[in-house]
Amino acid sequence: MYHNEIEFIDLGMIDYIEAFNLQKQYAAERASDILDHDRILMLEHLPVFTLGKRGGRENLVVTEDFLQSRNIPIVQTERGGNITYHAPGQLVFYPVIHLEKRQTGVSDFVNMLEEIMIRTASDFGVTAMRNSANHGIWVGSSKIGSIGLSVKRGVCFHGIALNVNLDLTPFTWINPCGLTGVQMTSLENERIRQTQDNNTNRDRFRKDRFRKKTENRVNTENRVNKELPDISILAVKSKMRYHFKTIVENNK
């Protein structure tokens, strides 16, 4: 591997603590140059709530007994940000990147991570954007992708989580990222919503006197939708990996 190349490792479905220990090990090895290249771990977590370094337990809106009855653990972490939820159907990338060697500041790197998630969502027909209220990416007022990082000796770990097609219910048991009144969404959710919107529009247009003209337009939209890739963890992983290579590896 040449020095700028990133090694991608697919861990599949993995327990939070197990993935955390791997990251810590790789980050230490990267900082001391035992590991001579950057690594990105790609995975899904078994259901877990995680707290940021400064906590987030106060943003749990159900009791810990309730979570225990659902068999979902809460884990204290060292990353930035507040409480969040991980589960299968959410794609997680943990970049173990030597920011210092890449001469990339933390603030710029967070910007890159947001850009990667925005481009990935866009590949699946979902328009996501940044929001000055909170880092991560948003579709309207709903959050779809989250960020939390640690930096040790110039090397970052922890990373990003993009909601693909998970059950979003457990997010209602917390104030995600410590924000009240914020809803979470997923690529699948947004795709369904868009299809419904299109159908509603089509029904409305049918009654319209510009029927022919508008139907042509709707037909075009439907055709575009058909060309969008199916939403699956595998498909999203492949796109996200591509954007990581473009934005971080080649710094474009």
């Binding site: 930035g80 500041g105 110039g154």
Partner: protein, 132 residues
């Protein structure tokens, strides 16, 4: 982000490769993060400081700075005992961004051995390192 030529790096301070600055007065060393570090970190939302009386060895992590969803460790440039921490940072962490060398100082250390500071960089050497 700032260009290297735009950085504010006072002549009288010493700089570490981890981007902490040190100012020596007697055997007391005041430590903070420099303009380069605060600029790279972005808006600081929390500074975790040690307790007065804690002791550290040169290069140890002595606290963390949280900015834009990232928790970054900070490292002590000299071995010794913490004699004072900047209490104002608890309510006003942004002082680290707005006044890194004055109001945004982080700790004061009673140094075990001031000669440990000899291998820190002056402004010129630090600028050379940043230019890579």
């Amino acid at each position: 982000m700032k260009e290297i030529s735009e950085l504010n790096l006072p002549e009288e301070l010493k700089y570490s490769k981890d981007h902490e600055w040190s100012k020596v007065e007697g055997d007391i060393v005041t430590v903070g993060i420099d303009d380069y570090a605060q600029d790279q970190l972005g808006e600081v939302v929390f500074v975790e400081v040690p307790e007065v009386g804690d002791t550290f060895s040169k290069g140890d992590e002595f606290g963390t700075v949280e900015s834009v969803k990232a928790v970054s460790e900070i490292y002590i440039p000299v071995s010794g005992e913490i004699v004072e921490v900047n209490g104002n940072l608890e309510d006003a962490p942004e002082l680290v961004n707005n006044s890194p060398y004055e109001e945004g100082w982080i700790i004061k250390v009673k140094a075990d051995d001031l000669s440990e500071l000899d291998n820190l960089m002056d402004k010129a050497a630090y600028l050379e390192m940043l230019k890579g």
